[in-house]
Amino acid sequence: MKWEIVIGLEVHAQLSTQTKIFSGASTAFGAEPNTQADAVSIALPGVLPVLNKGAVERAIQFGLAVGAHIAPRSVFARKNYFYPDLPKGYQISQFDLPVVGMGAMTIQVEPLSGNAKPYEKVVRITRAHLEEDAGKSVHGATQGMTGIDLNRAGTPLLEIVSEPDMSSAAEAVAYAKTLHSLVRWIGICDGNMQEGSFRCDVNVSVRRAGEPLGTRREIKNLNSFKFMQQAIDYEVQWQIDTLENGGKIQQATILFDPETGETHAMRSKEDAHDYRYFPDPDLLPLDISPEFIEQMRAKLPELPEARRTRYTENYALSAYDANALTATREMADFFDACLAATLSPSPSPAGGRGEQVAKMCANWLIGEVSAQLNRDGLDMTTCPITPTQLSGMLVRIADNTISNSGAKDVFRVLWAEGGDADAIIEAKGLKQVSDSGAIEALVDEIITANAEKVAEYRSGKDKLFGFFVGLAMKASKGKANPAQLNEILKAKLAG
């Protein structure tokens, strides 16, 4: 029996404002409990919410980034909710008139198994709306009591709801990763998943091919992509097993336990989903003018998709390279700066070779730089070398001053000690010999001193070529230009 998987996501992105959505209390992470819980956050009687412009700006920017309609008028609603982590007894959210309407995002899917090839897919975004976060409950303080920290209560969230357009765990993870990268790229959310700045709820159902949608279960609060994949895989299998054994799926909210790798239903209360939304009388409708929207559009950076296109079209980079370079905005900005610096010296040794130089920059960034960052537990924001420093080295590769292996030495020093490439090349004597006269002389000497091996080579023992290369490199103290050396050696050995 062939089963189809249907997945939709709801993502809560914490907006990177200084203050809460409806009050001037700080949203800084990690403060002492309740020191950032003002009268509005703790819902003292008589307080009124005043909407934070920074939250609205970020919502508009997100909408523009996914090509969505921005509602000229949207409305805040009360969602009734009876837990002490939101002491008002309701959450202020948006219901039938959200600020961001239908949009879409293109994702690059890397299939998780088999030999399937990566592919692109468009995922529709149903809507995105503004709402406030709840506080935190701390269990196990005093026996029989729950501790409440309201620092997080009132933190602005953008809830981004997708259409059920994904049909595998790989697609769901690709969507979540693309969204995660986008919100950081446009600077509306720090994306810190450990601190809960980016939380995913995943709706999963299965159906037999061609049949109507099955009943969905919602996996709540996934805070890592790895858990998301594990949770979906487990849940899908559980639903299929249940249905194949003649069971029925009940709509439910479920949690993923990373310890066991299993999902299990939360105790569901009767009426739990009867939130009885109604317009919040404390808040007037939010009007967004075309001018406001245009201001926000002007503030948006070049988006990842546009940059990928620029990289593949202007520099003939592969889709793989373009993707890797646009994983974060810091990475892409580093690449742009480094490429510009490498191409800029006038007359540049790299001039007129934009594509080649772009490929070289990309290789170093995706290769050596990323590997070093990984090894040292750093990221692009804390990268110890600047685009200018890397470019200084790339220019010397491009003009044949250093070989690739020489460049690795330069890179190690740049990384560990800083400085500039030219000084390092000088100090370490890494300048390669590209003077063909010098290389020829060196090769002649070797041929004379190894007449026997030369004879063997000439009688057909091609494998000896490597032996000669080794000797020549050694004789040049590793400084001979490898391409040139190969060429000269080949010509001379041929006799």
């Binding site: 001037g24 703790i42 007037l284």
Partner: protein, 95 residues
């Protein structure tokens, strides 16, 4: 339209209101009165009128994203029934 006692019980449960029989009965008749009024208003032709979400036809003022609140935890917690290590304590919440 008239509400049943069961309707009132359900609404009371959703709103976490504990009501005795006499209160339920009183609420039922009051709420039914409100629904009758609504039914009467349904007769008004509103086809060409955009719905409002607020009684006042003005729009939301926006606040600059600047911290203005001070830490007033001590004052707030002075009137809380129970606190510990800066946390407000409430009867245990079980999910």
């Amino acid at each position: 339209m008239s509400l049943t006692t069961e309707d009132v019980r359900k609404v009371a449960r959703l709103a976490r209101l504990a009501m005795n029989e006499a209160e339920i009965d009183a609420a039922r008749s009051q709420l039914s009165g409100i629904f009758e009024l609504i039914a009467e208003m349904q007769a008004v032709d509103t086809r060409n009128i955009a719905p409002m979400s607020h009684a006042q036809d003005v729009s939301q003022r926006l606040r600059a994203d600047v911290v203005t609140a001070q830490n007033e935890r001590e004052a707030f917690q002075a009137i809380a029934p129970q606190v510990e290590a800066g946390l407000y304590l409430v009867p245990q919440v079980i999910e």
